[in-house]
Amino acid sequence: MFIEIKKLTKLYNDYLAVNEIDFQIDKNKTVGLLGPNGCGKTTTIGMMLGLVTPTGGEILIESKNINSFKRDEILKRFNFASPYIELPKKLTVKQNLEIYGRLYGIQSLENRIDEISSDLDIKSFFKRKTGELSSGQKNRVSLAKSLINKPEILLLDEPTASLDPDIGDFIRSYIHEYKEKNKVTILLASHNMNEVERLCDSIIMMRKGKIVDKGTCAELIKKHGRNNLEETFLKLARSNDEF
């Protein structure tokens, strides 16, 4: 197993944000992390990225506890994109990619920037300041930053939130194409069920800090007797039962 999460728990004072969750992700698979707001998705991602110290449990990468790796060694295998974090606004797109390329220790950085910016169609605004871009453009730049190091593990937090359908579709198509061509394991937190159905090999449903169900989209829809993933999500999010 490539990634194993065992009894992972996060307690903030008396608030249990993540409650003994267990899941695994196979190498080069894409897993969707679904659940209503405040269910613990971001905290789970934060713990995987080393931004949040778990209260209990462990995160294993290739059967090794994540804490046994050196911080810079493990983080260069990861990357993360979210519309809720941004790149320095006063730096140009190219400067931002250059800085992050250097921080991730990328060899042949110019070539990598050239390659990723062609793929994501961001070259036309390379010299513009990142803060002056539209949200769709910012989103593509953020995705470019998250792929600059060709991460083995890519964590995406609502990568198409607040985008128009056209740009949203572009991003989804790009991620789909990228994961087909590259060896990457993705954990995708999203509220967009079409996106999850299109990109994910399996999904994990969370509610109130706990995993309430997991499986492939088809399995979950069938198991809960619903017509689609959205209806399944609503059932799981509103129910108090565990499955």
């Binding site: 810079d72 990861f78 809720y84 974090i85 400067q95 992050y100 250097r102």
Partner: protein
């Protein structure tokens, strides 16, 4: 330490300065205003004070050195705040860069930011008031090292507060240096302070730095032991600053504040 990563983080802040002329102007403006203000005050004192009558520029030199300390500390704070304001904080802390490399990058880049602001002001003081800090000679280098280390220490303590309490701690960043200024004996000898405060003041490097500066300019005598003492005290505070920063970082990870640090 990976110097290419330290360089990368430094480059991020240099690009920020280079991309904005108003930012460069802002860096130069305040030290220059300070020099003008203290230059005229200094001129008045040298004409009307017995204590300063024989030594032109003691106050102005003190003002320049104090501004160096102030700029070093503010530069360190500002670079950290920039990451919060630009909502880049999470990106930085998930990059494969060690915490000590982040501290090193901010420390080394702060000197560039400080010098951009201060060098023009120092150069202006030479023809305008006939005062040059270079008159302090070789000891100037050691006094600046001590001041810089202490300025960075204050920066480390403020950024630790930002990690601990979030952006609301920002106001403390601006006020931090003024807390210590009265005890630093920047413009007056330590004897002016009440005896109880003198004990506290002596535990700070500032007193030793500014006492030594006055001794060089007024008495033409250098006491390297005092300079060494000020550097040693600064190193102790700097080490404590680094420890406090690490404690705050691990505390922030426990509280989960690194993931949603923003405006």
């Amino acid at each position: 330490m990976n110097f290419s990563k330290i360089y990368a983080l430094g480059l991020r802040h240099l690009y920020l300065i280079m991309n904005s002329f108003p930012r460069v102007l802002d860096l130069i403006y305040w030290p220059t205003v300070q020099i003008f203000l203290w230059g005229f005050i200094s001129k008045f004192f040298t004409l009307n004070s017995e204590y300063y009558s024989n030594t032109v520029g003691v106050i102005l030199t003190a003002a320049i050195l104090y501004d160096f300390l102030f700029r070093a500390s503010i530069s360190f704070n500002m670079m950290f705040l920039e990451e919060i304001w630009s909502r880049n904080f999470t990106n930085l802390f998930i990059a494969p860069i060690k915490i000590r490399e982040i501290i090193a990058a901010l420390t080394l880049t702060a000197i560039v930011r400080t010098l951009i602001g201060l060098v023009p002001a120092v150069l202006i003081a030479i023809p305008l008031f006939g005062v040059s800090v270079l008159k302090l000679g070789i000891p100037l280098i050691f006094l600046l090292i001590s001041l810089y280390l202490f300025g960075i220490t204050l920066g480390l303590l403020v950024t630790s507060g930002l990690l601990r309490y979030g952006p609301s701690f920002e106001n403390i960043a601006w006020a931090s240096l003024f807390f210590l200024a009265p005890l630093g004996c920047i413009y007056y000898p330590i004897e002016i302070l009440p005896a109880s405060l003198q004990i506290i003041a002596k535990a700070l490097p500032l007193v030793h730095i500014f006492e030594e500066m006055r001794s060089i300019l007024i008495n033409n005598s250098v006491n390297y032991f005092n300079i060494l003492k000020s550097i040693s005290i600064s190193i102790v505070y700097f080490s404590l600053g680094v420890i406090v920063f690490y404690i705050s970082y691990f505390g922030a990870k426990k509280r989960g504040t690194l993931i949603n640090m923003g405006e």
